[in-house]
Symmetry: C2
Subunit: 200 residues, 2 copies
DNA sequence: GTCTATAAAAGGATAGAC
DNA sequence: GTCTATCCTTTTATAGAC
């Protein structure tokens, strides 16, 4: 998993995997028919672990559903910063690296994106009336993914986190213009009037 | 150039290049020190040809600067549709495929993105007062690139152009909320009052 | 400048002992 | 289940004739 994230699929040799895992060829091929099956297993691990590995760490202590979206973005930002903008989203990299993926691989890449989008869509649903009725929640959730992936691509290409930050800023601006401001946590009295910007 | 677009860099062998070009090994290595130098030459060709190869074909007959942006998006859409959503943006694919590019490669990938962003920024500048003063034109131009690349990634992963279309729709929505509506071509009279949506 | 032939290495995968 | 040894293919790159 880590090697595919660091170096991609093609540039990771079976010898690399054996060395990193501290096992020998016979062991790997006892469990996996071939290298591609290691990849599908890794993708399955991402699919099965999106909550424990990605969402829960990012959302610890966060309750506001829109804030959860930005916290998730922060997570990708941190990964970029920690690696000097060399490692981005493992799924996105694999998706563009493997030009003609076999169906089992492509399905799993798509499933990863779908689960990710589901999580964002859940946030938008949880935001309730802050998302006006006319807004397509699914399309907006997809747009968060689109922006994150595009922003990661540019930040990596330039080795400059500014490109990611500006992409997220634009997305926040889009949200600010699209969504109603957050209502205060319902103190059960006359509606409070908050002034000033809620974000960005 | 075409092979790197179709199959990526790593999956294109020197033998593939020789076969497609109809030449032999000796010829290629007479002009290029190695395979990576073929890549940098390809990237230089993209850099030098952005106008003739990309912008001019997309913008033929288009005068409105904002419309030019959408026409450029249409170009990427067409490339996706024509290839059943298998080939996307050649630069974006290479950028994510090559995880630790040597400096000469990374520089050229970044230069390609910069030139592309310059072209969009020029459109935004040409749009004049339609882009309100507070709007960061450079950041918005980058955001167009971010959205295009992210949209291409999803469309390819799902083999479904709908993901690209929805990303562009969101971007258009962002533009609609950010920009002033286009003024009619200055009929030199009292300001016309247009109602209804100008786009999307 | 282009050709053929080939070197030298790395890659994925297998065989068979233990 | 794991080990060592190795097969076979592919890959990049070079040598040297023409």
């Amino acid at each position: 998993m880590h090697l595919f994230w660091e170096k991609g699929y093609g540039s990771t040799s079976v010898a690399d995997i054996l060395s990193r895992a501290g096992v020998n060829s016979g062991s790997l091929y006892h469990y996996f028919p071939g290298k591609q099956d290691v990849l599908t297993a890794v993708l399955d691990t991402y699919i099965g672990g999106i909550r424990e590995m990605l969402l829960e760490p990012a959302w610890r202590g966060v309750v506001d559903p829109i804030e959860k979206i930005w916290k998730l973005m922060d997570g990708y930002r941190e990964a970029l910063v920690q690696t000097d903008c060399t490692y981005g989203c493992p799924i996105g990299s694999l998706a563009l690296e493997i030009h003609e993926p076999d169906p089992p691989v492509r399905e799993r890449l798509a499933k990863n994106f779908t689960n990710w989008t589901d999580a964002i869509e859940d946030c938008l649903k949880a935001a309730g009336r802050r998302v006006p009725p006319g807004v397509d929640r699914r399309a907006l959730a997809e747009f968060v993914l689109t922006t994150m992936e595009g922003g990661v691509m540019l930040a990596r290409s330039y080795r400059d986190i500014g490109y990611f930050d500006r992409a997220i800023d634009q997305l926040k601006e889009h949200f600010n213009r699209l969504l109603r401001p957050a209502t205060s946590p319902a103190r059960s009295g006359p509606r409070q009037r908050k002034k000033g910007k809620s974000h960005a």
